[in-house]
Point group: C2
């Protein structure tokens, strides 16, 4: 997915927020904004939001020396989400359709996003989204197709998104493994925004219910051309993939393959692309699928990584 003109102000806001997380020095904040403004002034129209996000957060790392500005925020998200875990489990356990309930739970967790969700208030947003999401359900749902595929496979690759959110993902992972399908859970290759890394996966016990791997990508989404050879190989061999959140949708929506996207549409650009409203919970399959094994994937190292 290419960026939209609406991404310009949004990325500038995101850059300011991240700079403020990294340092209290206002001169640095201004320097970051200026550098990102220059980046925007020269932006090629085919740049993807993920590439742009990667460059912006690299700028902040270089300017501030902060490798992981969102560390504290991520720990807080994990902690808060873990405190909701028993309630999420109870919701799924008592649901008439536990798979649907677990899918909705995971989609609601996607509200935890410091990139797309300005002024995000963890306590308030989570509680409120939980109530609303459970009441509203999925707007665009390919759940029957997903459930049918689940019955056919013995392994699913789950591409995660944000810290905190992965507690909600864990509930869905547990529902999937309960159905006899083992899960590999992929996280980003290094800290970027509040995206989940290996550290977060361990913090919420994801490693106890799934095999946790890294995509090798340092960007707020999954662009296969930037992935580790190991992840690419896994991606090409797996017959059912669940990609979580906007960043993974932006990166993978143009790919062929047995991919389902699960997310909350959080910005007008992605919502437009999906044909839904901002705030809607969506589960949808990717474009018509090629047969497993015959998919054309980028060769490892075919493109320069964004970092």
């Amino acid at each position: 997915m290419r960026h939209d003109l609406d991404c310009y102000p949004c990325f500038l806001r995101q850059a300011l927020e991240a700079a403020r997380m990294a340092t209290a020095d206002e001169d640095v904040h201004r320097a970051v904004l200026r550098q990102v403004s220059t980046l925007l002034a020269e932006l090629p129209p085919d740049t993807t939001p993920i590439e742009l996000g990667s460059r912006i957060h690299r700028t902040i790392r270089e300017r501030t020396g902060a490798v992981d500005p969102y560390r504290r925020v991520k720990e807080e998200s994990n902690r808060k989400a873990l405190s909701l875990y028993p309630r999420l489990k109870e919701y799924v356990r008592t649901a008439e359709d536990p798979l649907l309930a677990a899918v909705i739970t995971a989609a609601i967790g996607n509200v935890i996003d410091y990139g797309a969700n300005p002024g995000f208030d963890l306590e308030r947003s989570l509680e409120q989204s939980l109530e609303e999401g459970m009441a509203r359900g999925l707007t665009r749902s390919d759940l029957p197709g997903f459930a049918a595929r689940l019955d056919d496979v013995d392994h699913l690759l789950y591409v995660g998104d944000n810290a905190g959110e992965i507690v909600f993902d864990r509930v869905l992972v547990e529902e999937i493994t309960r159905r006899g399908v083992r899960v590999t859970f992929a996280v980003r290759g290094a800290p970027i925004l509040n995206d989940a890394t290996l550290e977060d996966a361990r913090a919420v016990g994801m490693d106890r219910v799934a095999t946790v791997v890294s995509t090798g990508i340092v960007g707020p989404g999954t662009i296969l051309a930037h992935a580790d050879p190991g992840f690419l190989d896994l991606f090409s061999r797996t017959d059912l993939i669940l990609a979580k959140g906007q960043g993974n949708y932006e990166g993978l929506s143009g790919e062929e393959g047995p991919v389902f996207f699960l997310l909350m549409a959080k910005c007008p650009v992605v919502a437009r692309d999906l044909g839904v409203a901002v705030g809607d919970l969506v589960l949808r399959s990717a474009r018509p699928q090629g047969r497993a094994g015959s998919r054309s994937l980028p060769r490892p190292g075919a493109a320069a990584a964004p970092e």
Copy 2:
């Protein structure tokens, strides 16, 4: 008031919105965003939001050839606000304190602002703000001081802000003239954003209840150094001035003089400066006043106008 770093993304959003009002050509939208990004990348820290806004809207005029992109929006605002006029008058007429009611009415009208209010929905915002504003009243109020000054003077200079909003201002102007104080109502010198011009003042009948003049300024606020000599002279000779909205507050809050500011705090930057919350209605006097006649005002032509 200088700009804040939070103004960066806000101005980029504003530029995109104005470019879209001016033309449907996406290449032009992108060109405007690039040019404004370059402007932001090189922005001197002491630039005021009004200067920045002036430059951005000049960029859009130059790129698109559209002299008045908000014309249709302004006409619609005037029309919709005029349809509420009888209700506003009734609210003031039946109020225990008609001056307070008229002041609140005028402050509520300040919600009509395409600059500071993204995604502004005229129908919804007006009705909703009217209900809320009447219920909440003023957050920070120097009304006793303002009322006392009104008793002392026979002339008030009212510096207007946006189209549509001036219908609400007219209600306050009428309450002021009812108290035996004649009013001069000042509007911008040329179209900028949805700010009121002579055309709008006439469209809502302001010229029937006040003397309407132009500040001579082509910018979304009042910077005295950019004003016409005639307006400067009027400003310096008038013993009571009411300046409406954020743009006039930004431009005049550093000036000495018998100025009261009436506005809704619509952005975090201005709200912080005022010590109130976003959405609050405020009437406050300027800094300690010099004596009329002894105020130091910029000499006409002392600074280059922003246009």
